[in-house]
């Protein structure tokens, strides 16, 4: 009888404490992971979209800022952040800056640049990336694969010599490992990684925004660097004009706006064409 009573009390107290714990509700789960039913895009689709936006951004920066800026006397250097060097980021470092800023956001997107003949040895492809890069060089087609060890969906896209500054700087650089680059060559590849096989519209927009915010951040870092130049005459006028018009640089907003104008049509087409949006 006594044991029965003890068991009863024990059961009752367990039931009450479970009820109390349960009635509190849990800690809200991180909403960055969407429910499977919300998934609207395959990861390769979104990475292709963002790689195209990256091509546009890089071409604009290389031609419109670096190429035209050099003619106006602006300097670009790999050690652009050093105190004694008054210069802007080279295109590869501009991309590195975007990549770093994306990593600071909550979007789990990875972006890297590599080559088989890089200026900086740490950017040389190895292993599977090196094998796939050989394919990219011959076909110029993207390679999509699942990186087993990291559990990440990975896409690699050709990085072409789209402008004269790419070819000239790489051929003439003191640490170059190849001196016969020419326009149109596959100089390297960008590697993009994302942890899930599909994305919701919200997640896809998050990826685009993370990339654009990254562009804005590195461009603003360049403008801050210019603000710190010791001699005023070496500072270009920052506003709505581009270096092709004189000793000017566009503001970050003007630069991003141009990227948007060039990229948004395609991006919007993909977003509107998704299953979930189309069925609404």
């Amino acid at each position: 009888m006594k044991t029965l009573k003890t068991k009863g009390i024990l059961f009752l107290s367990l039931a009450i404490s479970s009820l109390i714990i349960q009635s509190c509700g849990g800690v809200p789960e991180d909403t960055s992971i969407s429910a499977p039913s919300d998934k609207a895009f395959a990861v390769a689709e979104v990475l292709t979209l963002i790689a195209e936006e990256n091509d546009i951004t890089r071409t604009l920066y290389t031609k419109g800022i670096v190429g035209a800026g050099k003619k106006q006397g602006l300097k670009f250097d790999e050690d652009w952040q050093d105190d004694e060097i008054e210069a802007g980021p080279l295109p590869a470092l501009f991309l590195r800056g975007i990549s770093s800023d994306i990593r600071k956001s909550d979007v789990p997107l990875g972006l890297y640049l590599g080559s088989d003949f890089p200026i900086n040895a740490s950017n040389k492809f190895q292993g599977k990336q090196a094998e796939l890069f050989e394919k990219i060089k011959s076909t110029e087609k993207p390679q999509h694969f699942y990186e087993e060890d990291q559990k990440l969906y990975t896409s690699m896209f050709a990085d072409l010599a789209v402008a004269a500054p790419c070819v000239n700087c790489h051929n003439d650089h003191k640490n170059t490992t190849k001196t016969d680059w020419k326009l149109g060559d596959v100089m390297g590849a960008t590697t993009w990684q994302y942890p899930s096989d599909s994305l919701s519209v919200k997640e896809a927009i998050g990826v685009i925004n993370a990339y654009r915010n990254g562009t804005k951040a590195i461009y603003n870092a360049y403008l801050e660097e210019i603000a710190g130049f010791k001699i005023d005459s070496t500072k270009p006028q920052i506003g709505d004009k581009w270096p092709s018009k004189g000793f000017y640089l566009p503001t970050a907003e003007v630069f991003i706006d141009s990227v948007r104008q060039l990229a948004s049509y395609k991006s919007l087409e993909l977003l509107l064409g998704s299953k979930s949006v189309a069925s609404n």
Binding site: I21, G97, R103, S122
Partner: protein, 240 residues
Amino acid sequence: MFNKNPLRKRQYIGSLIGIAIGILIYVLLPLKQNEDFLSLGPLNTGHEGLSCNACHTDAKGNLLQQLQSNISYTFGLRKTKADFGTENVDNKKCLECHDRPNDRHPTHRFLEPKFKDAIANINATECETCHKEHNGTRIVLKEATFCVNCHYDLEVKNDPIDTPHATLIANEQWSTCLQCHDFHGNHIYSVAEKMKDTIPLKQIQEYLKGGKDPFSSKKKHLPLSEEEWLKMKQKYSKTK
């Protein structure tokens, strides 16, 4: 009650003493002046004087909610665990104060697939691999020869130093790297061009153990102090 069995009285007093000690521990231990008793070990170089909750910030939700979430997780009713008591101290937490635009070796750089062999040897994607806290030191590695994991095939064109990098690499002198190169690249200093002018290995070793900084007293970016971090956090939570 005590007349039935005198042992009951002892049980009763014992329980009361136990409860009182429990309450005292619960109230006294979290006080700021008692943080040393809770700490797993002395804080690392530069972190002396930080409060526990500068890193161990409160986890989301109250204790019951955290308990409920983790029970749900155990039975597969939710996808992610919830932090219990305090938040997990990860890279993000370190970078709230130590993030710098010019970090030569940011942790995220090593997430790239090509570094997978290197990070199997030394997991450079996590700050705590080198800077594990509560060890009263600057880095916890016994030897600072980690550069070999990525730079084993380094070739330097127009090598500026009198003993060429090729010779140093051939002789596997990986402990010499730090005699010229500051890993995170935050010091303002000029690099020696002769081996005899480089920072002596002993000074580097002492620095890694928490000793005097042999590179330079000048740094490009300073980390946030606890006060600055708190201000930043408050400003951020207000704008949210």
